[in-house]
Amino acid sequence: MNSLEPTVFLVDDDPAVRDSLSLFLSLKGFRIQPFASAEDFLAVYSTQYPGCLVLDVQLSGMDGLALQARLVEKNIGLPVIVMTAYGDVATARAALKGGAVDFLEKPIDVELLYKAVHEAFDRDRSSRIRESEKIELEARLSFLSEREKQVLTLVVDGKHNREIAAALGISPRTVEVHKARIMEKCRVPRLTDLLRIVLKNSLLQSPR
């Protein structure tokens, strides 16, 4: 796993099921990495690998639901598709409450699996994009001076230039200058773009 190409991580203790689903998904053009147990997967996986997890609930050793709980615990946001041979409501509920994005009953309808993997990949991709936007912006915000941060905080609060000027004891003109600096440092063409990212990621939690 050298590249960061999205991968389907498949965990199922039945060799035939593992082999069959791997073959199908790889023929469909997915990169696939099968595992025989939850433990094997945990030993290898780290957060930077994108893709999704296709997980059987009934496993020898740590079972699927326990693995899901462990992922939440370790703050791993990889989308999980849960499969089970016992299509009971209790297991489905537990899986979905544990954050599974989809729940498939065995025998698996491979077309449904294909669709589910597709959706999970999309979901993973957008969440990773959001994550990287956030990290990048955080880095840039750290370049702002103290005064600039104060100005940005007030802008986020929805204050006008005159109000900001009054609050900080500077002229409205100076506020304009600060705003231009902020946009330049954060490399955004318009202030509204900056506001969107800041609000969405609830960055800039400066003390009042």
């Binding site: 035939a16 199908f24 698996i108």
Partner: protein
């Protein structure tokens, strides 16, 4: 409504007619000029009526008795005396019936030995006062000489007893007579042979002039015993009747009467009592046997039913795996076909074949499991038993957050052998653990723990203890805990513990709830496999 009325009318008229006829036919060998005969079957008819249809039919019995006096004996005694004697008879039999059915609660169809014992005792006790007062009346009226009094009472008493024990069980056991029953009676060669034997013996004993009739009555017991052993009470009552009739006809036909009435009565009583008790014993035994096998059938069905739900869920899992694999392979084949990769296509099709074989094996195993539900005993070690079931129970426990542990105490599980049906025993352990898990999950419990302790009891038998930290078994449940259909679980079938106990007992062991301060503790024992 109409129908029952018609039936009632038929019963009323029929009873009186039959009563009179029977009295007339049996009116033989009268002592003095009065109604003292060696056996009085009409009294048996009277008792059968009261036992079968209830004591409220006493007026009918009274009417029958009166009609018989008039028709058979032609009112030789004064009318007042006859009315009084009929009243005494009716009162006596009504009281006897009331005691038997009301107080002693015997089953009038004679299903247990107890029914016959009480019947005999009550009949003997109640007919004595009737005989006494009946003969006394004639004595006071001067119709019987005083020196014959005791002998007449005795003959009358024994005659009543014989009449009753011959007739009443016969009627009660065979009522209502059906065409099928008659067809069965004459349809079997053995039955015909038995009837012929009775007739031959009767002829041999009484019809042959060479023999001194009473010396050779012993052979009469042989066909009676044969029939009683084969057909129980039903056969015995019929045989007694035939022998009794044969006796009376023979005695009447013979010109020289070597036999006194009392001698004849003694023989009749001995025959009847022997036949009845032997027949009763056989019937009771047959009943017990058939009930036992019925229980077995029910148990087997319940057992298979209970494991059906377990099986279907295991089956779903086992079949779903190969089916999932096949689904994936087949879709892959389609892709490989359009990608023109014949080599890989071929490989994948091979894999499909292998998975199909795997699925069909699951089906075969299932069929084996259900085939007749026969017990298959095998010799396995304790370790093998628990290894076979451990992965499934531990997984179930973990799923419910229960800490399940097993410990071996003073036993070598790899060496200690038991001779058991593996599937059945696994069902028991599974049931006990599942019950414990349900109890732990249902209640608010601090610790969720189950401890299985495997060891030996003082007698060297395997002892398995399943102890949980749950809320325990409620007091009011404890006595009914092992009943089939008894359950504390709203969705439960209540089959688990009852079946588990039956399985363990069928293996020669015991299963019980051990009283504990905390939680619940079930223990079962199993005999160790013997060396050979």
């Amino acid at each position: 409504m109409r129908r029952t009325k018609n039936h009632l009318a038929l019963l009323l008229i029929g009873y009186v007619v039959v009563y009179v006829l029977v009295d007339r036919v049996s009116y033989i060998y009268p002592v003095a000029p009065f109604a003292i005969t060696p056996w009085n079957p009409q009294t048996g008819l009277a008792l059968a009526l009261l036992l079968r249809f209830g004591v409220r039919f006493w007026p009918l019995q009274f009417a029958g008795a009166l009609a018989a006096e008039w028709y058979v004996r032609d009112f030789q005694a004064p009318l007042g005396l006859i009315l009084l004697s009929c009243a005494i008879m009716t009162a006596g039999y009504t009281a006897a019936s009331a005691v038997l059915v009301g107080k002693l609660r015997i089953d009038p169809t004679f299903t247990r030995l107890r029914d016959l014992n009480w019947f005999m005792a009550v009949v003997i006790a109640f007919t004595l006062p009737i005989a006494l007062s009946y003969i006394m009346m004639f004595l006071f009226d001067g119709l019987i000489p005083p020196d014959e009094f005791l002998m007449d009472v005795l003959i009358y008493w024994v005659g009543d007893v014989i009449g009753i024990i011959v007739t009443t069980p016969l009627l009660l056991v065979h009522w209502p007579v059906t065409v099928n029953a008659l067809r069965r009676l004459f349809g079997s060669r053995e039955n015909i042979a038995q009837i012929i034997t009775i007739l031959c013996v009767l002829w041999g004993v009484f019809g042959w002039n060479v023999t001194d009739e009473f010396k050779y009555f012993y052979p009469l017991f042989l066909p009676l015993i044969w029939i009683a052993m084969r057909h129980g009470l039903k056969g015995a009552t019929l045989a007694i009747l035939v022998i009794q009739l044969g006796l009376i006809i023979s005695v009447q036909r013979s010109e020289q009467r070597y036999v006194t009435v009392l001698e004849l009565q003694a023989l009749m009583f001995a025959l009847a009592a022997t036949g009845l008790f032997l027949g009763m014993a056989v019937t009771e035994r047959q009943r017990a046997e058939s009930m036992l096998s019925q229980r077995e059938v029910i148990l087997n069905r319940a057992l298979r039913f209970a494991s059906a739900s377990e099986m279907s869920s295991a089956l779903a899992h086992e079949l779903n795996q190969p089916l999932s694999a096949i689904g994936g392979y087949v879709s892959s084949c389609r892709l490989l076909l359009s990608a023109r990769q014949p080599e890989r296509l071929h490989d994948t099709l091979e894999k499909v074949t292998a998975e199909v074989a795997r699925a069909s094996q699951v089906i075969h195993r299932l069929r084996d499991f259900y085939r007749g539900g026969v017990t298959k005993l095998e010799r396995i070690t304790v370790a093998e038993l628990f290894e076979g079931i451990w992965s499934s129970v531990i997984k179930k426990a973990e799923r419910h957050g229960v800490n399940l542990k097993i410990q071996f105490d003073d036993i070598l599980p790899e060496i200690f052998q038991i001779f058991i049906d593996r599937i059945q025993l696994e069902t028991v352990v599974h049931n006990l653990v599942a019950n414990a898990i349900d109890a732990l999950v249902a209640g608010p419990v601090e610790r969720r723990e189950i401890l299985i302790t495997v060891g030996k009891d003082p007698a060297g038998r395997l002892r398995v203890e399943v102890r949980d930290t749950g809320p325990g078994v409620p007091m009011e449940m404890q006595s009914r805990l092992f009943d089939v259909f008894e359950t504390t679980k709203p969705e439960g079938l209540g089959l688990g513990l009852g079946i588990s106990r039956s399985i363990i007992e069928a293996h020669g062991g015991k299963l019980w709830l051990e009283p504990t301060a905390e939680g619940a503790c079930f223990i079962f024992t199993l005999p160790a496999a013997t060396d050979e």
